[in-house]
C-alpha cells in the first residue's frame, strides 16, 4: 500500500470527523445555504483541473482539463454568489424595519 495513500487516508478521516461535528451544529434554518457553500468549497477541484490543463501533456488531457476548469469554476462563482444572496435575505424582526 503506497504511503501517500495512508497519509491521505489520515487527512480524509480527520477532515470527515471535523466536518461531521461542525455540520451537526448548523441550524436547520441554514441548511440550504450550507449546501450551496459546501458546494462552492468543493469546487476547489478547479485547482486540479488547472494543473491538468496547464501541464499540456496530451490533447485529450488539455480538453478534459479545460472543461473541468469551466465546470468547477462555475460552481465556485455561482456557489459563493448564491450563498451570499441567501444570507442577505435572512433578517430578524428588528433589522427588517431599518
Amino acid at each position: 500500500m503506497p504511503s501517500d495513500f495512508l497519509s491521505n487516508l489520515y487527512v480524509f478521516i480527520l477532515a470527515g470527523f471535523v466536518g461531521f461535528e461542525l455540520i451537526k451544529r448548523v441550524s436547520p434554518l441554514l441548511h440550504t445555504p450550507l449546501m450551496s457553500l459546501t458546494n462552492a468549497l468543493d469546487a476547489i477541484v478547479v485547482v486540479a483541473a488547472i494543473i491538468i490543463a496547464g501541464r499540456h501533456e496530451t490533447r485529450l488531457s488539455v480538453i478534459l482539463g479545460l472543461i473541468a476548469v469551466a465546470a468547477s469554476f462555475s460552481n465556485m462563482v455561482g456557489g459563493f454568489f448564491i450563498t451570499d444572496r441567501m444570507l442577505r435575505m435572512f433578517k430578524t424582526g428588528k433589522s427588517k424595519k431599518s
Binding site: 468549497l41 476548469v69 465556485m76 444572496r85 442577505r88 433578517k91
Partner: protein
C-alpha cells in the same frame, strides 16, 4: 527563490485555505456569523486559485483563462436564480462538480497509461465511477425539479427495476476489478464510464416528489466524496479535505431527511413512494368536511392571539409566499403572535422553506423547527396550513396501516382551530388520505393559495379601515 521553495509556498497556501474552509463551515452554523463564513470561504478559494496559477507546472494560461471566463459566465446567472429554483440549481451544481472530478480522473488515467499502478487504478476507477453516476443522476434530478418536458417528475417504476439497476452497478464494479487486474486496457475504461453514466440515470429516475430533499443530499455527498477520491488519486490534501467536508455535509443532511420521513436509505433509493397506496383501504366513508370563506377565515384569525402558519411546497408552487408575508405583517400589526412551523422535509431540498420565507422578507426568528413548534401548538389558537399535506397528517401518529406511519409530523391537530388552504379534496402528491381534513375543528379553505391568502389579507385590511 529555488523552485522547491516555490512549491513549498504553494503547499503552505493550500494549508491556509484548508483552515479557512473549516472556519467557513464553523461560522455558517448561525445566522449571526454566517456572512463571515462565506467571506472566509471566498478568501480560501482565491488563495488556492492564485497559488495554483503560480505553479510552474502550469505552462499555458490563455485557454485556462478562457475556461475560467466561461465558468464565471455560467456560474453568475446560476447564482442569480429565484429561491423557488434553488433546488434545481443545487442539483445542477452537483452535476458540474461531479463532471469535473470525473473528467480529471479520466485525463489522469490516459496521461498515466502505461504507468498506472494497480493501486492507482483502483483509486481512479472508484473515483470515475462515483463521479460519472453522480453527474447523470444529478442531471436527472435537476431536470425533474425544473419540470423539463419528457422527464417524468413522478417516480418511474417498472417490474424488475431494482434487478436491472443493481446489475448495471455490478457491471461497473466488475469493470473496475478487470482494470485493476490489468490497468493497460484503455478500451475497457470508456465502457466503465458509460456503464456508470447509465447507472446514475437508473438510480434517480425512480425517485421523485417528496423524496427529492433526500436525493439532493445524497448526490451532494457523492459529489463530495468523488472530489475527495480525486484528492487520493492526485495526492492533493486540499481536495481530500474539501471533499470530505462536502461529503460529510451531504451525508448528514441525508440522514436528517431520512429521519424526518422515518425511512431508511434503502427505502428511499429502492422503494418508490406513492406505490404503496394501491393496497390501502378503498373504503369511501361519507365523511363531512367543513369549509369557510375568506371573510370567515379573516374573522377567526383576527380573534386569535397566537397563530402558527405551516407552509409546504404547495405554497411555493402557488407563489403564495409574498401574500403570506402580507398576512404576517397585517396580523403582527394587530398584536397577534404569528410564527411559522417548518418541517425538515418541507420543500424540495433541506432548508428550502426557510430561504423561501426569508426571500419574502419574513424575519428568520419567526421560523421555528418542528420540535420547538410542537411544544407550542397546544397553546395555539389557529394553525394555518398552506400547501403542506403529509407533514401534518395525524395518521402518522395513529394509523399503523398508513404508509407514513411513524413519520414525525407537526401536531397541528393540537391547536384549537385548524385551517387548511387547499385547492380541492384531492389527496396530495403521495396520494395519502389525511384524516385532519375531517376533524371537527378543521376548516377547509378551498382555493388557490395565493388567491385565498390575498382575499384574507383584503378582508383584514378592510376591517381595520372601518
Amino acid at each position: 527563490m529555488s523552485p522547491g521553495a516555490g512549491i513549498q509556498l504553494i503547499d503552505l497556501t493550500y494549508i491556509v485555505s484548508v483552515v479557512l474552509f473549516i472556519l467557513a463551515i464553523k461560522w455558517l452554523s448561525s445566522p449571526a456569523t454566517a456572512k463571515r463564513g462565506v467571506l472566509s470561504g471566498e478568501i480560501a478559494a482565491a488563495l488556492a486559485l492564485a497559488a495554483t496559477l503560480a505553479n510552474p507546472e502550469v505552462r499555458e494560461y490563455k485557454w485556462i483563462l478562457v475556461a475560467l471566463i466561461v465558468g464565471a459566465g455560467v456560474g453568475i446567472p446560476l447564482g442569480m436564480v429565484k429561491m423557488t429554483a434553488v433546488p434545481q440549481r443545487t442539483a445542477l451544481s452537483h452535476a458540474f462538480g461531479a463532471l469535473s472530478a470525473s473528467l480529471i480522473g479520466i485525463a489522469e488515467y490516459y496521461v498515466g497509461i502505461p504507468h498506472v499502478s494497480r493501486f492507482g487504478m483502483a483509486e481512479i476507477g472508484l473515483e470515475v465511477v462515483i463521479g460519472s453516476l453522480t453527474f447523470t443522476g444529478s442531471l436527472i434530478a435537476a431536470a425533474k425539479l425544473q419540470e423539463v418536458r419528457f422527464i417524468p417528475q413522478r417516480p418511474v417504476v417498472y417490474k424488475g427495476q431494482n434487478i436491472v439497476s443493481l446489475s448495471v452497478l455490478a457491471a461497473a464494479v466488475l469493470l473496475i476489478i478487470a482494470l485493476v487486474i490489468n490497468p493497460e486496457q484503455p478500451y475497457l475504461f470508456p465502457i466503465m464510464v458509460i456503464v456508470s453514466l447509465i447507472f446514475g440515470v437508473l438510480l434517480v429516475t425512480p425517485i421523485g416528489g417528496a423524496d427529492m430533499p433526500t436525493v439532493i443530499s445524497l448526490l451532494n455527498s457523492y459529489a463530495g466524496f468523488s472530489a475527495a477520491l480525486l484528492g487520493f488519486v492526485l495526492n492533493s490534501k486540499v481536495l481530500v479535505v474539501a471533499g470530505a467536508l462536502d461529503g460529510s455535509s451531504g451525508f448528514i443532511l441525508s440522514v436528517i431527511m431520512c429521519k424526518a420521513m422515518n425511512r431508511s436509505f434503502t427505502n428511499v433509493m429502492f422503494g418508490a413512494f406513492g406505490q404503496v397506496q394501491t393496497s390501502g383501504p378503498a373504503v369511501q366513508e361519507a365523511r363531512t368536511v367543513r369549509s369557510a370563506s375568506p371573510e370567515e377565515a379573516a374573522q377567526i384569525l383576527e380573534a386569535a392571539s397566537k397563530i402558527v402558519v405551516v407552509p409546504g411546497y404547495g405554497m411555493a408552487v402557488a407563489q403564495a409566499q409574498h401574500k403570506v408575508r402580507e398576512l404576517f405583517d397585517n396580523l403582527t400589526k394587530k398584536g397577534i403572535e404569528v410564527t411559522f412551523g417548518i418541517h425538515p422535509v418541507a420543500g424540495r431540498m433541506p432548508g428550502h422553506m426557510n430561504v423561501l420565507l426569508a426571500e419574502a422578507d419574513i424575519p428568520y426568528d419567526r421560523l421555528k423547527e418542528m420540535d420547538d413548534i410542537n411544544s407550542e401548538l397546544g397553546q395555539t389558537d389557529v394553525a394555518l396550513i398552506i400547501g403542506a399535506n403529509d407533514v401534518t397528517n395525524p395518521a402518522a401518529r395513529t394509523d399503523p396501516s398508513s404508509p407514513i406511519y411513524g413519520m414525525p409530523i407537526l401536531d397541528v391537530d393540537k391547536a384549537h382551530t385548524v385551517m387548511v388552504v387547499k385547492r380541492s379534496m384531492n389527496p396530495g402528491f403521495a396520494g395519502i388520505d389525511n384524516p385532519l381534513y375531517y376533524n371537527d375543528k378543521t376548516l377547509m379553505l378551498f382555493g388557490d393559495a395565493k388567491g385565498f391568502v390575498g382575499d384574507i389579507v383584503r378582508e383584514l385590511s378592510g376591517n381595520s379601515s372601518h
